[in-house]
């Protein structure tokens, strides 16, 4: 074996490609820059012209505080060894083989880009949408700006009780004037202004104690200017198993959450334009369609909870079925990673096949030299933005161990200039971090007169025009 030398320790910089400029990509870069004694260059790629992944395209427009984390990412981007290459897609402009010619280490941070399906009849009827498409749409994500959502119906259901489901329900229920001062996409605000939705149902398979949403999220739903909130008493109450589990764990956050939900039972409704109805212990069985292929209802089976051997409470459907008349359904029951061309995938969990972030050969189950994963594409879609920081740290620890052992790639053309020559050929319309800062400045200044945090560019053409390419 030829000795690849020790890049990053006096033999020229360690060259690292990070694929995906969401929070995880920045955390990986941050940990690398903090590695003691390491001389490192990090090239961060994203298929979009803009960085920050779900912080820009996922976090709800009325939750700007959560987006404050971008200040941390700006600091990472200011490191001399950092470059951003936006509008560059792996599999389209560059291949894994290209990356292996230019980098010592490659880290995939591509997240979980698709929705899980419910696997029930009627899922593809007109008016049934993955919740994440609606989220991408109101957030001005270029992939989703052309989507159509018919808000002329009176009743909508959101299936799922995670934070995305809560976001979708909340945006549907907000008064337009509450959203007008956010960075919601203008076209989305226009459609929401014309919304005729009067009732929104948020539907969970299990009970209030098992719902994934947090206490602040559920509290916020009770404080909307344009919407009342209610929950059927029999669904807000706790069954014996849930009570016993809370007794055992003494989980105060969950107790508080249940208290808030139960307080909604007694809330008067009808005063505001809309009503948000929380429903629990219901499993979707079928999305019911009309003659024109449109959604007319949602068939739901009442569930009963049972305890698994580890004490987790799960739901099983009973024969007790109801049909909820709704004209619009948003499905939000989890996400899955998308396989990358030429990178081993673990289909069971919807992630890149990995061991603590080291990508594994599917046959030998041993690490593939130079390839790593971090974030949702490594562990699946769990946790908050900050959870990706320790996750990225674990991957970087493995990268540094491997570097110490000389287990890195020996790229034929490790100089950054070589990569930039290749990019000039494959994707001349790539965006730098300076380009992004310019876009950002214009977005923010456009928002200022209306008291909005920004007005987003939502199409590649607009963004290209600004940076004059």
């Amino acid at each position: 074996m030829p000795d690849p030398g020790r890049p990053g320790r006096g033999e020229g910089p360690l060259r690292v490609a990070v694929i995906g400029a969401g929070p995880t990509g920045f955390y990986v870069a941050d940990h690398l820059f903090r590695a003691p004694g390491l001389v490192v260059e990090v090239d961060l790629f994203d298929r979009l012209p803009t960085p920050f992944g779900l912080v820009r395209g996922g976090v709800a427009p009325d939750h700007q505080k959560i987006k404050a984390v971008t200040a941390v990412f700006d600091k990472v981007a200011a490191q001399p060894g950092f470059r951003f290459y936006g509008n560059v897609e792996l599999g389209k402009h560059l291949t894994v083989a290209d990356l292996r010619q230019h980098y010592h280490q490659i880290v995939y941070c591509t997240g979980a880009q698709t929705d899980r399906r419910l696997g029930i009849p009627g899922e593809d009827l007109r008016g049934s949408h993955p919740a994440t498409e609606f989220v991408g749409w109101y957030n001005g994500h270029p992939d989703f700006r052309e989507r159509q959502f018919d808000l002329s119906v009176e009743r909508a259901a959101v299936i799922g009780v995670g934070n995305v489901a809560v976001d979708v329900a909340r945006i549907l229920c907000r008064a337009p004037e509450e959203l007008a001062t956010t960075d919601i996409a203008d076209y989305a605000l226009d459609v929401l202004r014309g919304s005729r939705i009067r009732e929104v149902y948020l539907i969970g398979r299990r009970g209030p104690a098992q719902a994934a949403f947090t206490t602040p999220e559920i509290k916020e739903l009770g404080e909307l200017a344009g919407s009342d909130i209610t929950v059927p008493a029999e669904e807000a109450g706790l069954d014996a198993l849930s009570r016993a589990a809370l007794e055992r764990t003494q989980d105060r956050a969950t107790m508080k959450k249940v208290d808030i939900i139960q307080s909604y039972v007694r809330r008067p409704t009808g005063g505001k334009a809309r009503t948000l109805v929380l429903r629990f212990l219901l499993a979707p069985v079928e999305i019911v369609g009309g003659d024109a292929g449109e959604v007319t209802g949602l068939r739901l089976a009442r569930t009963a909870l049972y305890a698994t051997p580890t004490g987790t409470l799960q739901a099983k459907s009973t024969d007790d079925v109801e049909v909820l008349p709704v004209g619009l359904v948003f499905r939000s029951v989890g996400y899955r990673g998308v396989p990358l061309l030429g990178v081993p995938f673990n289909d069971s969990w919807g992630v890149i096949l990995n061991d603590k972030g080291r990508v594994l050969d599917p046959d030998a189950k041993t690490p593939i030299v130079g390839e790593y994963a971090a974030g949702w594409i490594k562990r699946g879609p769990t946790g908050v933005i900050g959870t990706n920081k320790p996750d990225a740290a674990e991957t970087v620890v493995g990268m540094m161990e491997d570097l110490g052992q000389g287990r890195v790639l020996s790229p034929a053309a490790p100089e950054r200039s070589a990569l930039e020559r290749l990019l000039a050929e494959r994707q001349p319309q790539h965006f730098s971090y300076a380009d992004w800062l310019r876009l950002n400045e214009i977005e923010v200044s456009k928002g200022r007169p209306a008291g909005r945090p920004r007005v987003k560019f939502t199409s590649l053409e607009e963004m290209l025009a600004v940076v004059a390419r």
Binding site: V72, G311, W349
Partner: protein, 148 residues
């Protein structure tokens, strides 16, 4: 968070032993794979017991001929089995209360993984660290409050 998020970063390999193997044989497996426990599986591949370093230490202290004994004479026969959807908070409680350090995980009748108490602690620590970090950033933000 559930067990699936732990198994996702463990490469999908589960190290198993057969009940008729000798302790000498399985000690080699433990050392080779650098693990603290093996799932003992029957003919159908389903777990019938767990064999940990601790089981071996406890027995060998009483009987030095242990190395030639078979796995089924030493293994712990009461096994709690998890599913990928099991919640980590409940799993943690169950493992601590039942004093078990390893939990085999089955999905659709197939053994799909082994989770240790260390894995559970690590995943929960990362989750809490992440939440604290995220909250601190939000609290330290001085700009206009947009949250309603």
């Amino acid at each position: 968070m559930n067990i699936a998020s732990i198994l996702a970063t463990k490469g999908g390999q589960v190290f198993t032993a057969r009940p008729e193997q000798t302790i000498r044989q399985v000690l080699r497996l433990l050392a080779e794979h650098n693990v603290g426990a093996l799932v003992v599986v029957g003919g159908d591949g389903a777990p019938i017991g767990m064999l940990s370093e601790r089981d071996i230490v406890r027995h060998i202290a009483r009987d030095e001929t242990l190395l030639g004994h078979t796995v089924d004479s030493v293994m712990t026969k009461t096994v709690i089995v998890g599913t990928p959807q099991d919640d980590l908070v409940m799993v943690g409680h169950t493992m601590v209360e039942s004093r078990i350090r390893h939990l085999p995980v089955m999905d659709g009748g197939k053994l799909v993984g082994l989770v240790s108490i260390g894995d559970v602690v690590n995943a929960q620590r990362n989750q809490y660290q992440g939440e604290v970090d995220t909250l601190q950033i939000q609290l330290s933000q001085s700009g206009p409050a947009m949250d309603h």
